[in-house]
């Protein structure tokens, strides 16, 4: 610490005329002070010791780089281009604080570019600054819909990500709260994995604030009934909220094409490392209509003009309606979020361009379908829905007589992280697992997995 130098401390004390540093703490009553000696582990003051200690700890982890992982289900292993790390690691961005539109212009522009590029992918004109995660975005969007139409019931797919659903339930408040929004699940068709429209119609009413569904769905399937779902919802005056992984939008239609009013989703796949879940990030987007915009809980950044003719600047928009502006009267709340990740996302999308997203999307489609086919060729193993998915698919182990837990343990011994075990989350699927295949998986990887599975279920 710069001012640890005794001479500096003394100079400052002298300047203010205090007898000692301790004296400056006069406001804290004696009775408040702890009598306890803080028993923290010994300090590792030197970087050489600290780094060694940390590396020793990290070495106890086994990563998805040196192992072969098929885990997805909310966090996905996609390629992070090198310049994304370079830009997001720049000290200027890393340590940036919260200056003015002029002093932090470059960062604000990068944020605007995040929103602008994401807006193209999801075909929405209004995009807020990011929120914590996809689940939080969905929760925020449902609350936003509820504020818009005053209704307090939301319909969600039965087989949605239990992780995300738990967050949504939190945001909708527990049933014991007078103001809670009821979360009602809509069945999915066992044959297709898609939403059961009959059940949807049965549960739709003028008390429903919104229907929420995802594309691709938790189980990887592409929900093809978007238009029909939207029609059912809109007829009942409900909002349509669609959750997407934007990395799929080079090949899949953007949700507004099939009737979405609000689009949410993850930003993790757009250039953020998984970091054990620390890469999570979410977004909220919609048409640029005043009634929507005025309900956003996020901070928002708008392009604007400056004193210099022809020059762009970027300034906060609608900040007053946030919790910073209106405290408990604000729209939910905001605070620190994942703004540095948003810069990584912006770099990622700039690198990708339309062709990158198309090429990547096609590659993921091709590889994941090829993987599903190869895995299904293993005796005793089948793939629950053999087509119509993006990146993830359900592998069915029921006929092998082995549990997913047993299979995954055996895979782990071979340096393979098997797909997420669905048996507890979706009992209807029995011993099934959700496998994710992306551009980081090569044909040899798939073959290695298949051979390992053959050996394990034999």
């Amino acid at each position: 610490m710069a001012n640890s130098v005794p001479a500096i401390k003394e100079a400052m004390l002298k300047e203010i005329g205090a007898p000692s540093i301790e004296a400056l703490f006069e406001q804290i009553p004696d009775s408040h002070r702890t009598k306890h000696d803080f028993a923290l582990p010994p300090a590792l003051r030197s970087e050489v010791e600290l780094r060694r200690h940390m590396l020793q700890l990290l070495a106890k982890n086994r990563s998805c780089e040196e192992n072969l992982s098929f885990l997805g289900a909310g966090i996905w292993q996609h390629h992070v281009p090198a310049i994304v790390d370079e830009v997001a690691g720049r000290s200027e961005f890393l340590t940036s604080v919260w200056g003015t539109a002029m002093s932090d212009h470059g960062r604000n522009q990068a944020w605007f570019e995040f929103c602008s590029q994401l807006g193209e992918l999801v075909a929405c004109d209004f995009v807020g600054l990011p929120v914590y995660s996809w689940g939080c975005a969905a929760g925020n969007a449902i609350r936003l819909a509820s504020r818009l139409n005053g209704r307090r019931r939301v319909l969600v797919p039965a087989w949605m990500d239990p992780e995300r659903l738990a967050v949504i339930r939190q945001y909708c408040e527990p049933e014991g709260m007078a103001s809670h929004i009821a979360v009602v699940t809509v069945a999915q068709d066992a044959a297709t994995g898609l939403l059961d429209l009959a059940d949807l119609r049965a549960k739709m009413s003028d008390g429903v604030t919104a229907v929420y569904f995802e594309n691709p769905s938790f189980l990887g399937l592409i929900e093809t009934q978007g238009e029909a779902i939207a029609q059912i919802a809109h007829q009942a005056g409900a909002q349509v909220i669609v959750g997407v992984d934007p990395i799929s939008l080079g090949v899949l239609a953007p949700p507004p094409d099939y009737g979405a009013d609000i689009v949410v989703g993850t930003t993790q796949t757009l250039g953020a490392h998984m970091s054990a879940g620390g890469g999570a990030g979410g977004f909220i987007a919609s048409r640029d209509e005043e009634r929507y915009a005025r309900e956003y809980p996020t901070l928002n950044i708008s392009i604007t003009t400056t004193r210099n003719p022809g020059e762009h600047g970027f300034a906060l928009s609608l900040a007053h309606q946030s919790s910073y502006g209106m405290r408990e009267q604000g729209k939910d709340w905001t605070g620190n979020s994942v703004y540095l990740t948003a810069i990584a996302n912006a770099v990622y999308m700039s690198l990708m361009g339309p062709e990158g997203f198309r090429e990547l999307g096609e590659l993921v489609l091709a590889r994941s379908h090829a993987a599903a086919k190869r895995i299904a060729s293993v005796p005793g193993i089948s793939v629950r829905w053999g087509g119509g998915f993006f990146r993830e698919f359900v592998v069915d182990f029921n006929a092998t007589g082995k549990t997913v837990a047993v299979v995954n343990k055996a895979l782990l011994a071979k340096g393979i992280f098997g797909g997420k075990d669905l048996s507890a989350d979706i009992p209807a699927l029995g011993q099934s697992a959700l496998y994710a295949v992306t551009e980081i998986h090569s044909a040899e990887d798939i073959e290695r997995l298949a051979l390992a599975l053959e050996e394990i279920v034999r």
Binding site: T95, D125, G356
Partner: protein, 504 residues
């Protein structure tokens, strides 16, 4: 750099990144009607051009490249060794659903850091799922709901008490969680009176959410009594430790009676601000509240020495965010705490409070600067709020104009104040333990110079900045539905509409 918006850059057909070609007819794998019809209008640029663009933007961020005494945030030095560690595959390439056996290092870090925070606060269990300080406050409201639901009092206890000086996230998360918010006002000595608290308390009280000291640097000496009264009323007491920097090493929240507290790991514990996250609000509570915590919890099996995630917590309120939280930031905070040690943490508090009082001496010598709560004559804690009310009265120029002019000297504008502004033309500089005496002196010198300029050359100050990447922005357009544009596509549309209007 006069840098265009990325949406204007590039040339059709350029590629920034390529992927192997898909085998077979991949497009046919998309179900009918679900294929994207028109390509997104993203820029088409080379990797080199993308990199240069964002490097140029990075050079147009002032922030901590100069001297930024950014208050209410406790900016610290962010050790770059942790940034390098964060990019290691053993941190960056971990999936949260990996088997516990493959995450032993990470879980050990979480557990060890949990123990450190327990020691600093006296709490019995910490969780790191909350992705920011506000999210930790929200976590408290969720835990509060769980706690009273289990007691069957959830419908009855629907009020949360806070004070006007508490961070807006406290009332805001309480309201979002479905509670009514009762806000106590400050009195002359800088904090609400105990009588006001008593008047607010009832059998409807679910919790008190409060920070101490506040952003004015005033410590509420009655806080232990407050907590006792809240507990007597049947409520929970939550300590928002956003201003921990002034008291760390001296007090423990649990010893003051608090049931729960939160720390901002991205600031107080040396994690980078990143312009606003990824962040962590570490939430800790008593054993009584622990069953209600979001799950999973990282636990150590003392017999085997192995760590695991405990999902089997029937009373848990569930999740506030997916998975375990921003553990890469927890890793940084743990490294910071280990580098500091108990002595270092206490010394940081010493230096922060010393530096604040030194800065105050210099600031109050500048004509035009006033101190918040002038009646509170004590030494302030780690930060104090000031006001340029006198300057504004004299010159018509206030903190906005002064802040803009300061950036011309390489000093990023100070944080002003959370809402509501209880001090006229407020600003809240915080030196912390990071900034050197010379940096503080420079900051004060620049403020003094700009205050002088406000008198000698007000036009210069009014039209500032003059030395920033861009000129002063129009901040009205972003509030006008016809002109705001959070995306380029909205901008193009509205610009065209306005041009059309103008033509008509």
């Amino acid at each position: 750099w006069n840098e265009p918006v990325v949406m204007e850059m590039g040339v059709k057909g350029r590629r920034g990144i390529v992927f192997p070609k898909a085998e077979g007819d991949a497009a046919a794998l998309v179900p009918a009607g679900m294929r994207r019809r028109s390509a997104p209008a993203l820029p088409e640029m080379t990797e080199h051009d993308v990199l240069r663009h964002y490097l140029h933007l990075s050079q147009q961020v002032l922030g901590m490249m100069g001297v930024s005494l950014f208050g209410t945030c406790t900016m610290k030095y962010n050790p770059r060794v942790s940034e390098a560690l964060g990019l290691r595959p053993q941190m960056a390439e971990l999936h949260p659903l990996q088997d516990d056996s493959t995450l032993q290092g990470l879980l050990e870090i979480v557990h060890r850091f949990d123990l450190i925070l327990r020691e600093l606060s006296g709490m019995d269990q910490f969780v790191f799922q909350a992705a920011g300080g506000a999210d930790a406050a929200y976590t408290h409201t969720c835990v509060t709901r769980g706690y009273f639901a289990a007691k069957g009092e959830l419908e009855q206890r629907n009020e949360i008490i806070t004070s006007i000086q508490a961070h807006p996230c406290n009332p805001a998360t309480a309201a979002t969680a479905g509670f009514k918010v009762v806000t106590l006002m400050l009195e002359e000595n800088g904090y609400p009176s105990i009588e006001a608290l008593k008047a607010a308390l009832s059998n409807r009280t679910a919790a008190l959410m409060i920070n101490n000291p506040d952003d004015m640097g005033v410590y509420n000496p009655q806080i232990a009594e407050w907590v006792k009264l809240v507990k007597q009323a049947g409520g929970l007491a939550f300590y928002d430790h956003a201003n921990f920097n002034g008291v760390m090493g001296r007090i423990r929240a649990r010893e003051l009676g608090f049931d729960a507290c939160m720390f901002m790991l991205h600031k107080t514990f040396g994690g980078p601000k990143g312009g606003g996250g990824p962040a962590v609000g570490a939430y800790g509570c008593s054993a009584e509240l622990a069953p209600f915590l979001p799950k999973p919890i990282v636990v150590k099996d003392e017999a085997t020495g192995l760590y695991r995630m405990d999902h089997d917590r029937p009373d848990s309120v569930g999740k506030v965010r997916e998975f375990l939280g921003n553990l890469h930031i927890v890793m940084r905070a743990y490294a910071w705490a280990r580098a500091m040690g108990a002595d270092g943490i206490k010394e940081a508090a010493d230096i922060a409070v010393l530096a604040n009082n030194y800065m105050e001496k210099r600031l109050l010598a500048i004509p035009g600067v006033a101190r918040s709560n002038p009646e509170a004559k004590t030494w302030r804690m780690e930060m104090t709020r000031y006001g340029l009310g006198p300057l504004k009265e004299e010159t018509g120029l206030g903190v906005i104009e002064v802040g803009n002019r300061m950036t011309d000297y390489g000093i990023d504008a100070p944080w002003l104040s959370h809402e509501p502004w209880v001090v006229a033309e407020p600003f809240t500089p915080e030196a912390g333990e990071l900034w050197s005496k010379e940096d503080i002196d420079l900051w004060c010198d620049v403020l003094a110079k700009v205050c002088d300029e406000a008198r000698s050359d007000p036009e210069m100050v009014r039209t500032a900045p003059h030395n920033a990447p861009i000129g002063r922005v129009d901040s009205e357009a972003p509030e006008d539905p016809a002109r705001w544009a959070t995306t380029w596509r909205a901008w193009l549309r509205k610009r065209a509409a306005l041009a059309q209007q103008a033509a008509e």
